[in-house]
């Protein structure tokens, strides 16, 4: 059965273009992707991510249970903080991009996955054998995100000035008519980002207020597809693009999400074995140096007669004003600043490997402690 956001009918009535995958239907976009990209890079965008799989755990053993499943050091998350990691299968392949938040007596887990909820729940099944209260909240909680250099202004007006003191990867609980809104300072665009978990009973009210504030700050509603290009040129891991295709966290460059000193987590044996063998390929960013047929998935990147890489995902970056891609490179060539040729569908295009993130996002120039 396809998951629909509690705002599905409302979104449809506002002429949203929809997209369906992995057991859910969500808003692809409201306007052109170019417009929505500019909104999030220049002002603030409001996005309904209710299809994210959401779980909460209670009980003294909750952190230790998740520590045995996830590769990050979950057991040591401080109160009020969030850890960004992934969930792997037994072969050490990425299933889900995960936030774990330690908020008082509740541990929240938010998953952006390339598999359906049932697969994630299978990985969590042993929770029922421990002294833990575990609940899937995907249907009972909506998830809204505000992203952009003005996201802080919307958050401040919505939740009060104290939210400006929230460090990146932190969590707070805010009251909403007796219900709790879980506010996570996160973001995967390289701009300011706040993710809210909202009880569905409050979600229309909260969304309307957020939309009013977002529009007040010259922003607007956005769909989920623009995040593919925002993550690409912001160099945030995208489970729906490179994650879905490459799947090995080491090749994807996600070692920072792993505590290699841990004794156990799902997929550890396979990941450790691949780490011991060493990488043969690596994900590297590319930008096009000239006009031409855009790079696309499987476009070959060559040096002379040798194929050195193949494109995994590509898109037009307005920030760079050119085509950008992530390609899986032969490890010998996996360096930025090198010139190659992309063999596109209709001809050759000069490309160059680039250091990521390739531009300075507007949010990096804003100091919240001076607001």
């Amino acid at each position: 059965m396809t998951f629909l956001s509690a705002l599905h009918d409302f979104s449809t009535s506002r002429n949203a273009v929809l997209t369906s995958r992995d057991g859910f239907t969500a808003v692809s976009r409201y306007r052109s992707l170019e417009d929505e990209y500019r909104t999030i890079r220049e002002t603030v965008g409001l996005t309904d991510f209710s299809h994210f799989q959401k779980f909460c755990f209670r009980g003294e053993e909750a952190l230790y249970f998740l520590d045995e499943i996830l590769p990050a050091n979950i057991a040591n998350i401080r109160y009020g903080r969030v850890i960004h990691t992934f969930l792997a299968d037994d072969d050490g392949h990425v299933l889900s991009d995960v936030y774990v938040a330690n908020q008082d007596d509740t541990i929240w887990m938010v998953c952006e996955s390339c598999v359906e909820t049932a697969v994630i729940e299978q990985r969590l099944a042993t929770a029922n054998t421990k002294q833990i209260t575990y609940e899937c909240l995907t249907d009972s909680y909506a998830a809204f995100s505000i992203d952009g250099p003005q996201a802080w202004a919307v958050a401040r007006e919505m939740f009060g000035p104290d939210v400006l003191g929230m460090p990146y990867l932190s969590v707070e609980l805010h009251d909403e008519n007796g219900d709790g809104i879980v506010l996570l300072r996160t973001g995967k665009t390289s701009e300011f980002g706040y993710l809210m978990l909202v009880p569905v009973t409050q979600c229309r009210n909260v969304y309307d207020r957020l939309l009013t504030l977002t529009e007040k700050h010259s922003g607007g509603a956005c769909g989920i597809d623009v995040f593919d290009i925002l993550k690409l040129d912001g160099r945030f891991f995208n489970i729906n693009q490179e994650g879905r295709i490459v799947r090995d966290p080491l090749t994807l460059g996600l070692q920072w999400m792993i505590d290699f000193q841990k004794d156990a987590y799902h997929g550890k044996t396979a990941i450790d074995a691949r780490r011991e063998t060493g990488l043969k390929r690596k994900i590297i960013g590319l930008k096009s140096l000239e006009q031409g047929t855009p790079m696309a998935r499987d476009t070959r990147i060559v040096s002379g007669e040798e194929t050195v890489a193949e494109v995994i995902t590509a898109g037009f970056s307005q920030a760079l004003d050119t085509q950008m891609a992530l390609a899986l490179f032969d490890i010998r060539y996996a360096y930025s600043g090198l010139d190659f040729i992309a063999r596109t569908a209709t001809g050759n295009v000069k490309v160059q490997t680039v250091s990521l993130p390739p531009f300075i996002p507007r949010s990096l120039t804003i100091k919240l402690d001076e607001m």
């Binding site: 995958r21 960004h84 072969d91 392949h93 390339c114 990146y168 990867l169 160099r235 945030f236 879905r244 295709i245 490459v246 799947r247 090995d248 090749t251 460059g253 070692q255 920072w256 505590d259 290699f260 000193q261 691949r274 780490r275 060493g278 990488l279 043969k280 390929r281 690596k282 994900i283 590297i284 960013g285 070959r300 040096s303 002379g304 007669e305 040798e306 194929t307 050195v308 890489a309 193949e310 995994i312 899986l328 490179f329 032969d330 010998r332 060539y333 360096y335 930025s336 600043g337 090198l338 010139d339 250091s355 990521l356 993130p357 300075i360 990096l364």
Partner: protein, 133 residues
């Protein structure tokens, strides 16, 4: 349907069917080889310095050059940022302007800055005594 078939294709293996892993490699272009040698040497020195100064529990190979350093990624804080800047300035004889943390977006952006600004390209690799916290 298309998504489903793509997913099934890639569920089957982490060995993405890329041709660049072939054994019969063609000799690397000399210009590219030179650029890689220069960059690779700086990357290695930056990684060693980061691991040592910040007591990171990673090997050089574990640190992807594009991983974010501050906030997301390695999650370093402002004190770490000061340590990194100090290390870069000592090791590579370059000056990073106060407040210019955009250089610290990733290891690759640090390396770009060093390669663009280094005047003494043959600075010796040195062990930083007492740098690790």
């Amino acid at each position: 349907m298309e998504n489903a078939s793509l997913f099934a294709k890639h569920m089957s293996s982490i060995d993405y069917p890329i041709q660049s892993g072939r054994k019969n490699r063609i000799r690397m272009n000399a210009s590219i080889e030179k650029k890689i040698a220069t960059r690779s040497a700086v990357i290695s020195r930056v990684k060693r310095d980061l691991i040592q100064r910040l007591s990171l529990s990673y090997t050089e190979e574990d640190l992807h050059e594009d991983a974010s350093l501050i906030g997301s990624g390695l999650g370093l804080d402002s004190l770490d940022a000061l340590e990194i800047i100090l290390g870069i300035e000592q090791e590579f004889k370059v000056k990073i302007e106060e407040g210019n943390i955009s250089v610290l977006r990733s290891i690759n952006t640090i390396v770009d800055y060093i390669l663009d600004n280094q005047t003494i390209t043959s600075a010796p690799t040195q062990t930083v005594e007492g740098g690790a916290r």
